[in-house]
């Protein structure tokens, strides 16, 4: 069965500092991994994905994520956080044979000025 763990309910970081939002996954076979962001009263916005290829993937708004197969992780990173990055971040995984995305519980990112 597919599953995603986001161990932190909330991450606090000061503006200008680097940020990391953690995600680990479990899936049979090769994973398709995604990060989505949700702003208040909004839908889920796609940030980036890993399908195959380079372990470091770059996405929207300066975000990037590193796929680590041995640690089954796909942590979201940004070198310099902005106050406007404050939102709810979801990691999701899809197995090769499935169409459904399985989401983590979400991590609230709070960037302070």
């Amino acid at each position: 069965a597919q599953s995603v763990a986001q161990p932190e309910d909330q991450v606090n970081v000061a503006e200008g500092n680097p940020l990391t939002v953690k995600c680990t996954y479990s899936v049979s076979g090769n994973p398709y991994l995604f990060w989505y962001v949700q702003y208040p009263n909004r839908g889920l916005q796609f940030l980036l994905k890993y399908i195959t290829g380079d372990n470091l993937v770059k996405g929207s708004y300066g975000f990037e994520a590193e796929f680590n197969k041995s640690q089954t992780s796909f942590h979201l990173k940004k070198p310099s956080a902005l106050v406007s990055d404050s939102a709810l971040y979801f990691c999701a995984v899809r197995g090769l044979s499935f169409q459904k995305l399985v989401f983590g519980t979400g991590t609230r990112l709070l960037v302070s000025p």
Partner: protein, 113 residues
């Protein structure tokens, strides 16, 4: 930029009533999905739809639920007899291909009273 649109944004209904949630996926997308997010909980997969039929569904998607693509643009989710526990935010999503990212609508907040 093309987007997934959902109507209505908020629906209040009495327990036992039927509701239809509407979605217009991105026009050249072939795969369509419904997800839901109960307040404070994670996003859960309900159903995927491809080539005019359900291709995958979760255990949540029981006989009370149905989906339809009545014309070339709309994709609907019907809940036949709503229960209090159906109260949630319902997200429609679409993707161009099975292996590409899904784009989500803004959601319909369903409140069953």
């Amino acid at each position: 930029e093309p987007e997934v649109t959902q109507t209505p944004s908020h629906q209040v209904t009495q327990m036992g009533q039927e509701v239809i949630l509407r979605c217009v996926p991105i026009s050249n997308h072939l795969y369509f999905y419904w997800y839901r997010q109960i307040l404070g909980q994670k996003v859960e997969f309900l159903v995927s739809f491809y080539n005019n039929e359900i291709s995958e569904k979760s255990e949540i998607f029981d006989d009370q639920f149905s989906v339809e693509r009545p014309d070339g643009s709309n994709f609907t989710l019907k809940i036949r007899s709503t229960k209090l526990e159906d109260s949630a935010m319902y997200f429609c999503a679409s993707s161009k291909e099975m292996n590409t990212e899904a784009f989500f609508g803004q959601g319909t907040r369903l409140t069953v009273v």
